[in-house]
């Protein structure tokens, strides 16, 4: 058979175009800077776990939506009884785990008790502390009893740490996660990618995507190259803000700048010799020029904060005025504390650009008021060991990405070792309060206390700088929790 060259070429072209031109793409490749250590969100603190599995593979009784509000998930509705001490949940019917097992009230009881257990490795055990018992009323109804009324329960149950597992498959969740979500886990190539596929038997609204791949690219230069080459369709948290201008100018991409729950702070060891004095901490707060840090380290992306609180939260109050950039005041405070020109602090910096670059800027700013710092760049493992567990540091820079996490200041043994009984009482009262107005007042008080105690240097709210192909719709603009929720994502053609 003889095919002349021209018609053969035409045939090839037709074959190449017919597939893509007719239907929108149904697979997506997302870039992530960090690879999760495992895939069990109830057994590890790493944000990367939730960024793969939250809302995609695993679901809880409630869930966060893109705007941070709490919505029903596996629980279709609930009622509050016994003066706020008993929550009765009605569960969605017809829900099956990916392995075919039925989802019932027993699974809820199992999952919460597993998270609460003494040997549980759940990173947020505090979420479950107030729960005294879980009672299975029937297959589709479950009641949670609380020690004290808790206005946070529905919020707490929406966290990735509170997802529901099946007792049969829970032990393997780290490597072979089986949940109830719209996607099933299909493949994990360690060091490279994780693939998930559409769950055809999903109980809820069917998702548009057939397949999704999370590709792990830690090097910012490689991240840029992968976007440019089209290997990655979107980078929900693009790691190098310096490239955003260029990506924005490229018609293939859209850059979406949103908010995260990441309060980026200059953590101070409140028990270290020099920093135990509030005047020294205040001096440091006044020596820092936040805008220079946002500009220099984040290329302008980020919102200055004056306390440990997200500016987009309704209860936020602007307390940046407590620590305005004022070098003279900083010097005066150091003099008053009697440590003028005689203070040397360690500054341990984990890998992200906000810490490494921000650290160099802060070191230079502190030097100008007479505080010497010794910078030590550390990897995350070392940081967790030395700073977070060992408390062997004076200063460090880190972004606290959990939502509404001001409660960490009530933990006396938390790594920055802040100790204020009044604050602890306030937080205890807050967790019991159900009245929305009272809760609002308490949150504002809490922000004010830690701001005026100059617990840490409050720098800026990390921005979510997402880069995506312009044809992708439905990615989260903001990041109210650590997640890459793909349920609403689709391609337009």
């Amino acid at each position: 058979m003889i095919i002349d060259k021209r018609s053969f070429t035409a045939l090839l072209l037709a074959a190449a175009f017919s597939g893509s031109a007719l239907a929108a793409k149904t697979d997506i490749t997302l870039g992530m800077a960090l690879e999760p250590p495992n895939l069990d969100p109830t057994g590890g603190a790493a944000a990367a776990i939730d960024e793969v599995v939250y809302a995609n593979i695993f679901e809880g009784l409630t869930r966060f939506k893109a705007d941070g509000s709490v919505h029903p998930a596996l629980a279709s509705e609930w009622s509050i009884e016994n003066e706020g001490k008993r929550y009765v949940f009605t569960l969605q019917s017809g829900v099956k785990f990916h392995d075919g097992a039925d989802f019932t009230a027993d699974d809820v009881k199992f999952s919460i008790e597993r998270a609460k257990a003494d040997d549980s490795t759940n990173a947020q055990k505090g979420l479950f502390e107030n729960i005294t018992s879980v009672e299975v009323i029937d297959d589709a109804t479950v009641a949670i009893d609380l020690e004290t009324p808790d206005g946070n329960l529905l919020f707490n149950l929406a966290w990735g740490d509170a997802i529901i597992l099946d007792s049969e498959s829970a032990d393997n969740a780290a490597t072979a996660p089986i949940g109830t979500g719209p996607f099933t886990f299909s493949n994990w190539v360690q060091g490279d990618r994780i693939e998930i596929e559409k769950n055809p038997d999903y109980w809820g609204e069917a998702v548009a995507l057939e397949k999704a791949t999370f590709k792990f690219i830690s090097d910012p230069t490689a991240a840029f190259a992968s976007l440019m080459a089209g290997d990655v369709d979107a980078f929900p948290n693009y790691p190098a803000p310096e490239n955003l201008v260029q990506l924005e100018a490229d018609p293939r991409f859209k850059v979406v700048v949103g908010t995260t729950e990441g309060e980026t702070i200059l953590s101070m060891n409140n028990k270290s010799e020099a920093l135990a004095d509030v005047r020294v901490r205040q001096a440091i707060a006044h020596a820092i020029d936040r805008q220079a840090i946002v500009d220099g380290a984040m290329f302008g992306y980020g919102t200055p904060i004056g306390s440990h609180f997200a500016p987009h939260h309704p209860s936020y109050i602007d307390l940046t005025g407590n620590s305005t950039f004022d070098q003279d005041k900083a010097r005066a405070l150091l003099k008053e504390a009697g440590v003028e020109g005689d203070i040397s602090l360690s500054l341990k910096l984990p890998p992200p650009a906000y810490a490494r670059r921000g650290g160099e800027i802060i070191a230079a700013q502190l030097r100008e008021v007479g505080i010497e710092t010794t910078i030590e760049n550390v990897e995350w493992a070392q940081w967790l060991e030395q700073v977070f567990k060992g408390k062997d540091f004076d200063l460090t820079i880190v972004s606290h990405t959990e939502p509404l996490d001001i409660g960490i200041y009530a933990r006396d043994d938390y790594y920055f070792q802040y100790n204020n009984p009044n604050f602890n009482e306030l937080m205890a009262a807050f967790s019991k309060e159900i009245d929305i107005e009272q809760r609002d007042i308490m949150l504002k008080q809490a922000q004010t206390i830690i701001s005026e105690d100059y617990v840490n240097g409050f720098l800026f709210q990390l921005a979510k700088t997402g880069v995506a192909n312009t044809k992708i719709n439905g990615l989260w603009e903001n990041q109210p929790t650590q997640a890459n929720d793909l349920t609403g994502v689709s391609w337009s053609d």
């Binding site: 840029f224 190098a240 220099g296 910078i375």
Partner: protein, 277 residues
Amino acid sequence: MSVAASSRFKTLLPGAFLVLVFFGAALISFFYTPFDVETLNIKNRMLTPNAVNWLGTDHFGRDILSMLMVGARTSIAVAFIAVGIGVLFGVPLGLLAASYRGRWADEFIMRGNDLVFAFPALLIAIMITAVFGPGAVNAIIAIGIFNVPVFARLTRGASLSLWNREFIMAARVAGKGSARISFEHILPNILNLLIVQSTIQFSLGILAEAGLSYVGLGAQPPTPSWGRMLADSQTLTTVAPHLALFPGMVIVLTVLGLNLLGDGLRDWLDPRLRRER
């Protein structure tokens, strides 16, 4: 001008010139840099070369020329001391091994050196800095350690042939001990080899320092370092290529200069090569 002299100009002089520029910049930086390298000026960041900042400014608004000058100091200090460590330990070990040639002490020293030599150099450096923490001092030790076997082997090899020569015999007959012969007669005769090797090792030391700083294991901020300047500018190459270009060029030119100088010195100092010309 003789043939020998003209060929010397091809390597020795350009090499010496480049090295002088680089040492000169480092020396001047002790007294004067156009701008302070520890003061940041975020508003002036990533300026392209201009009349005020001759080589532009980096991502923190620091003057790149000033940083390169002070960075030269870091590079020289690290490489110089590292080569010093290599000479200080390697040469005596080599002399000792040669004086015990063929006996167990010789074997012991040289196999120990082989062991160190067998490790990839950068791996040793990463291991040391991983254990003792990053910093210029640990970088020096790390680079120094892999210099030791280089000098030990060279010294032993060159000394062995000398031990059979008549003038050494004469010295032994005169009652001099091994140690005295090694230092009084052997060492001066292999000095030219050591000098040439030192310049080569010096250039390797500068590359190693840049490499360690690049991966964050060398001098820590705010001390400027060429390798870290490269690392810092990596994600900025598309926005401000001069941030990576200048430190990269300086590293290349310095290493080139030292290698040319080493080549030139070898031709100049080696008596055999001189005679052949």
